[in-house]
Structure formats: structure tokens, C-alpha cells
């Protein structure tokens, strides 16, 4: 053990030595081996997917087994895009940015301007070839100001999860799943009345209201990045969102609480990311059905998406080339097949089997999805938080829909100016 520590010190310098002296040594003692290192280029892959058998780990492992002269090291951090962004910034400030980072789509502009994410096409000769594997629509989602900020990796979309046991118990027809919110609210009212269960839960964030705003014909930010979430169409969409609460069908709770509630069988339905299906199924015994997110009566659906892309933050050529090797592997059917087990959607052109139960999400993808809102400028992240806070005020009844959206628009406009 001591020998490992000493030799690591020689190779890794101060940081390595301290890591080994600290957690590294502890880890090595506990799991019986030191961190494996080879003479190859080693790249850090920063992500927030935890668990040794998570598809992210499986993809990294499969890549390393190819022995391409590059060793990918999985670095799982935190649970939020902010947490991994903080890590990346610390790395950049210390002159050692992580080679590859999963970046939320909403942070694309921040990744480009503040983190210095590289245009994939400029990262090496293979850049364009890697991008060839993806659907052109999806490439558009990761293009910021003309630069392709990474490969579209995790794509998901909000869908309706229904507890079919309650649905049937309420005497509702399993074949007639509502396609409009208006119809949904009527049926869920029946469910709530018949079963005594809470009817519905939405996530209180920027994402699900965006779906309502867009399905009503509005937008959160326009194509020029200007806030327009207080348009009459947006207000109409948001009214429909909050209607679930005013009709007594929805008691707004936190995301974790909502998932617990659904898993506990205390909810008739919820709207959340299609990527959560496998996790939820693994822990529940009742029948779950995923349906397309219902639209608004008489309006054209325009559903949104979310998730993350793999960005290259490496500054030097060697690391960039090594990072590109990894992205190249991620674009292969082999890697994508492993990855789809998460419940994220297939962003590539490859024909791959659809995971069971994901029909609704794939249908929604086939209809065409808009990207997650990219919050531009140096204060984009602040603008995002301000917007979410106004959504929360509206949902909790401390602002009317019109006033809240106006409040958000004014605050966001100030920050993006």
C-alpha cells in the first residue's frame, strides 16, 4: 500500500499524492486494489449517473475493453447539472478541465461561453464522422450559435405515467387514454372520486410548464433568446397547467416526494421524464402505462425535450483527440444499445430495439420535439432560477398566472439584457 502511494506520488504529483493519501488510500484498502492506470491517454468522463451497474458505467467499461489506447475514467459527481458544472469550473480554474462532461441542454450556452466547450467538428478529424450517426433534428438541439457543442446523449421528454390499477378501479377504460388535458382532468376527477387517491402530480420546474406553454402556441424564450413567456398563448397554457390544482386534482409537492408518492401507489397519474420508467418499474408491483403527454383541446401539440449532451472540455490536442475517441464509441450501435436501457431515447440513426413500455415517448419523438430552453448569456443560470421561482409562485397561488409570467419575463429580461 505504501509503495503504491509513493509511486503514485512520483507520477501524479501533488494532487495525486494527496488523493492517494486521502480517499484513494482508503478506497484501495477497502476494495483491495489501487486505481488502475495505464500508460495510455487517460480521460475523465464527468457525469452524475450513480451505481456500478448504471448503463453509463457499462458504456465506459465497454469502451475501455476495446483497448483503443485511451482509458476513460468514470467520474460521477453530485446529482445535478450545477454540481458537475461546479466540478468542471474548479478543474478549469486549476488548469485541468475534465475531458468529457455531461452537460444539461439548458446549460448549452453556459458550457460554450463559460466552460469553453469545444465544437465537436473542431476537436479532431473524426468530428464530422461522429455527428453523421445522429438524427439531424437532434444535432440542431446541441448547436449553439452555429457551434455543435457535443453529441446528443441523453434525450428524454415529459410523458404521462398512469397507475393502471387505480385507473381500472375507477371504472375508466384502459384503452381510452386521454389525448387532451381537458379530457384528462375529467377522467382523473373520476379516478380521485372513486379511489380516494390523489389524482395527479406535475413537476414544479421550468420543464413541464414549457410543454403547456408550447402546446398552447407560446414560447418561453423566442428564437432570439428574448423572454416571451407572458404572451396570451403562454398564459393560456399555464392556466391549463394550474387548472389541475384549482380543480383539486393536484397538490404540488417536490419531485422526490412525487416519485415516492407514485411508487407508493398514492397517485393516479404523474407527468415526468420518460427516462424514469425503468427505475420506477423496478420498484413497483402495479401496472404502469406511459402515455403521450396530453395536448390542449383545439391546439397543435409542440412537445419539448430535455436531457444532456456530452461536451468536450479538454484544452490540449491529445486530450481532445482521446475524448473524441470516446464520443465516437458512444455513437456506435453497441454503446447506444447499452445506453437505451436507461429509458433515454435513441438519438442516433441506428435501428435499435425500443425498450419495453417506451412506445409513447418514441411516438412523441417521432412527432418532433423542441429543444430544452437554452438560457443564454453570463447570467443565464440566474435567469433560469428566477423563472422557476416565478413558476413556483404561480403554482402555489402567490401570484396569478398573468402576473407571475409577467414577473418572470421582466426579471429574466433584465438578466439576459
Amino acid at each position: 500500500m505504501i509503495r503504491t502511494a509513493v509511486s503514485s506520488k512520483a507520477r501524479l504529483g501533488r494532487r495525486g499524492a494527496l488523493r492517494v493519501a486521502g480517499g484513494g488510500a482508503a478506497a484501495a484498502v477497502l476494495i483491495g486494489s489501487g486505481p488502475a492506470r495505464s500508460a495510455n491517454a487517460s480521460i475523465d468522463i464527468v457525469h452524475f449517473f450513480s451505481g456500478a451497474d448504471h448503463p453509463m458505467e457499462l458504456v465506459i467499461k465497454a469502451f475501455n475493453q476495446k483497448n483503443l489506447g485511451v482509458t476513460a475514467v468514470s467520474r460521477q459527481e453530485g446529482t445535478t447539472y450545477e454540481a458537475i458544472t461546479q466540478k468542471a469550473m474548479a478543474g478549469i480554474a486549476a488548469g485541468r478541465p475534465p475531458a468529457v462532461m455531461t452537460t444539461g441542454w439548458k446549460l448549452a450556452s453556459f458550457a460554450k461561453h463559460t466552460l469553453g466547450a469545444q465544437d465537436i467538428r473542431g476537436a479532431g478529424a473524426d468530428g464530422n464522422a461522429v455527428l453523421e450517426n445522429y438524427k439531424p433534428d437532434v444535432i440542431k438541439m446541441v448547436t449553439v450559435d452555429g457551434a455543435v457543442m457535443g453529441i446528443p446523449w441523453a434525450l428524454s421528454t415529459p410523458v404521462l405515467y398512469i397507475n393502471m390499477d387505480h385507473w381500472k378501479a375507477a371504472g375508466l377504460d384502459p384503452a381510452a387514454i386521454p389525448t387532451t388535458v381537458e379530457d384528462l382532468y375529467v377522467k382523473l376527477a373520476q379516478l380521485q372520486q372513486k379511489t380516494g387517491k390523489s389524482a395527479l402530480a406535475y413537476e414544479v420546474n421550468e420543464w413541464e410548464p414549457q410543454a403547456f406553454i408550447q402546446n398552447a402556441g407560446g414560447d418561453v424564450l423566442d428564437s432570439g433568446g428574448k423572454p416571451v413567456m407572458d404572451s396570451p398563448a403562454a398564459i393560456y397554457g399555464m392556466e391549463k397547467f394550474v387548472e389541475a390544482k384549482t380543480k383539486g386534482l393536484w397538490k404540488p409537492i417536490g419531485l422526490g416526494e412525487m416519485l415516492t408518492a407514485f411508487q407508493a401507489g398514492a397517485l393516479g397519474a404523474m407527468v415526468t421524464s420518460s427516462a424514469r420508467l425503468s427505475g420506477i418499474k423496478a420498484q413497483t408491483a402495479f401496472e404502469i402505462k406511459l402515455a403521450k403527454m396530453p395536448g390542449l383541446e383545439g391546439k397543435a401539440r409542440r412537445m419539448n425535450s430535455g436531457g444532456n449532451f456530452l461536451a468536450i472540455l479538454a484544452r490540449n490536442k491529445e486530450q481532445q483527440a482521446a475524448a473524441l475517441q470516446f464520443l465516437k464509441f458512444c455513437a456506435t450501435p453497441e454503446a447506444m444499445k447499452l445506453w437505451l436501457a436507461t429509458g433515454y431515447l435513441n438519438t442516433t440513426k441506428h435501428e435499435l430495439p425500443m425498450p419495453a413500455g417506451q412506445e409513447a415517448a418514441y411516438a412523441q419523438l417521432a412527432d418532433g420535439l423542441t429543444p430544452e430552453t437554452v438560457w443564454p448569456g453570463a447570467r443565464g443560470l440566474e435567469a433560469l432560477k428566477v423563472h422557476i421561482d416565478w413558476i413556483s409562485r404561480i403554482v402555489n397561488g402567490s401570484a396569478t398566472v398573468a402576473n407571475g409570467l409577467k414577473g418572470s419575463k421582466d426579471a429574466v429580461a433584465k438578466l439576459l439584457a
Partner: protein
């Protein structure tokens, strides 16, 4: 008084401590004021001058203002609560004759103090869970309506305050209990001979006698409520819904590490120094007249 001589010994003995507090507390405190006038561009690793702009935009920010108001509420509620309730419990314990019982009570009350903020946080997260949590299960089984607790903007702050109280009252209790035990018996007995009842004795003799401890806890409790509540806030509510349970320290954390605006965060830190310095000064003034040193 006997005092050791030794030319440089004393200086050598205090050197590590002096260096540590200078390098890691006073210097950063001064640097913080410096940083508050700059903007740190991480990518280019440059600091660019912003002047008082960070302060102006902070003071202009409604989230800052609600964090400041919440901080005032936390202080106004928690500082008296964390002093009065433990004081009452300490007085009650004083009247328990059984030493084993006293020790057991003391031990139990102190336990939340050694529970980390995150453990306290997840334990209460579980208690507050609106669907399967203990509190709502209990309420609903008794026929009352459950609450949304942490998701309810009117309740989140009070939930955080309650957990902070649970976590913090034991420390003050131990200090009060120790101080009360230390009051010389003769003083109490003399008062008893004068026919003073428990209430009069407490008011006239015991409380004044432990006033130095009360002063000490007043100062430390303000710091604890300012600083350490951030752990509870982070695990329970992350400041939400819409900043309704945030405080200044959590606001600072979000500015720096969620939105990466280090300059503004440093400005917030400077304002916190000013607030705490003012509160401490007030306490010195308030206690000056009453603190009774033996």
C-alpha cells in the same frame, strides 16, 4: 501570579495558532472584501474590476431581500427559542434528585447536537414526507388533514426552523445545566432562608449568576443560526419553494456555486460580516449592564 519565563517559548507556542487563524480566517475575510469588487472569469482565470456593482445588484435583488427577511425571522425566532426552552429544561433538571435520571436526560437532549446536518435533514425529510411520512400518517390517522410541509411556501421556513431548533437546543442546555450546577450552594441556601420561592430565586439569583453563560450562548447562537442552518436548508428545501425558506448564507451559496457569480457572493459575505458584527455589538451593549461576573 506565577508565570513561566522563557524567551521565545510563548511565541513559539502560539505561533501555529496565530498563523492558522491569520491565514485561514482573517486573511480570507479581508480578501473576501477584495473579491467583492471583482468578477472572477474562471475560463480565462481573470479577475475584472466591477467596483460597487456587485453590491448594487445584490441589494436590488428580490431574492436577496427575501433571504434577508428570512434570516431576520430565523434569528428572531430561533435565538430566543434556543435560549429560553433549554433554560427552562435546565431549571427543571436541577430539581431532579436522581443523578442517573439527570445524566440520562442530559445525554438524550444532547444527541441531536451530535447528529450531522445531513442526517438530521434526511431523517426529517422522511418525517415530513407528505405521502408516507410519519407526521401526515399520524395526522390523517387521527382524522386531521395532512400538510404539504416542505413544499408549502407558508410552512417550509417553519419546518426548517423546527429542525434547526431540534438540532441545536441541546448544546445550550448543557451549558446552562453546567452553569447552574456551578452556583455556590450557600448563595441559594441564603436565598431560601430569606423565604424566596423558586421563581424569585431563579429571577433574582440564578439567572443573574449564569448571565455570563447566557451572554456566551447569545453570541454563539446567533452564529449558529446564521451559519449552520444552511445544512438543514440544503437537505430539506434547497431554499424553496421560491426562496421562502432560504437565508443569507444559502443565498450566498447559490450565488457562488449554483450560478457561479463569485463577485456577488463575496459581496453577500461582506454584508453578512456587517450584520453579524452589528448583532454582536448589540448583544455586548445589551448584556453589558446585566452580565454579572463573579
Amino acid at each position: 501570579m506565577f508565570a513561566l519565563q522563557g524567551r521565545y517559548a510563548a511565541w513559539l507556542f502560539i505561533a501555529p495558532a496565530m498563523i492558522a487563524v491569520t491565514v485561514f480566517i482573517y486573511l480570507p475575510m479581508v480578501l473576501n472584501v477584495g473579491v467583492s469588487f471583482y468578477d472572477w472569469n474562471v475560463l480565462r482565470n481573470e479577475f475584472s474590476w466591477k467596483g460597487v456593482e456587485n453590491y448594487l445588484s445584490t441589494l436590488d435583488n428580490i431574492d436577496f431581500r427575501s433571504a434577508a427577511v428570512n434570516t431576520a425571522i430565523y434569528l428572531a425566532v430561533l435565538v430566543p427559542a434556543q435560549m429560553l426552552i433549554p433554560l427552562v429544561l435546565a431549571f427543571l433538571m436541577l430539581r431532579v434528585r436522581n443523578r442517573f435520571a439527570v445524566r440520562t436526560y442530559r445525554g438524550i437532549y444532547f444527541i441531536p447536537t451530535i447528529v450531522s446536518f445531513s442526517i438530521a435533514g434526511v431523517v426529517w425529510l422522511w418525517m415530513f414526507n407528505p405521502i408516507v411520512g410519519f407526521l401526515n400518517t399520524l395526522l390523517e390517522s387521527m382524522g386531521f388533514a395532512g400538510h404539504r410541509w416542505l413544499s408549502d411556501p407558508d410552512m417550509a421556513l417553519w419546518c426548517v426552523a423546527a429542525v434547526s431548533f431540534w438540532k441545536g437546543f441541546g448544546l445550550n442546555l448543557i451549558l446552562y445545566a453546567a452553569a447552574l450546577v456551578n452556583i455556590p450552594r450557600e448563595v441559594i441556601e441564603a436565598a431560601e432562608l430569606d423565604g424566596a420561592g423558586a421563581w424569585t430565586r431563579a429571577r433574582r439569583i440564578e439567572v443573574p449568576m449564569i448571565s455570563p453563560t447566557l451572554f456566551f450562548t447569545a453570541v454563539t447562537t446567533v452564529l449558529i443560526v446564521m451559519d449552520e442552518i444552511v445544512g438543514v436548508v440544503d437537505v430539506l428545501t434547497e431554499g424553496g419553494p421560491y426562496n421562502s425558506s432560504s437565508n443569507l448564507v444559502y443565498f450566498l451559496y447559490e450565488r457562488a456555486f449554483r450560478q457561479f457569480n463569485f463577485g456577488e457572493a463575496a459581496a453577500v459575505a461582506t454584508l453578512i460580516i456587517a450584520i453579524v458584527a452589528f448583532a454582536t455589538w448589540l448583544q455586548f451593549r445589551a448584556f453589558e449592564r446585566y452580565v454579572h461576573y463573579q
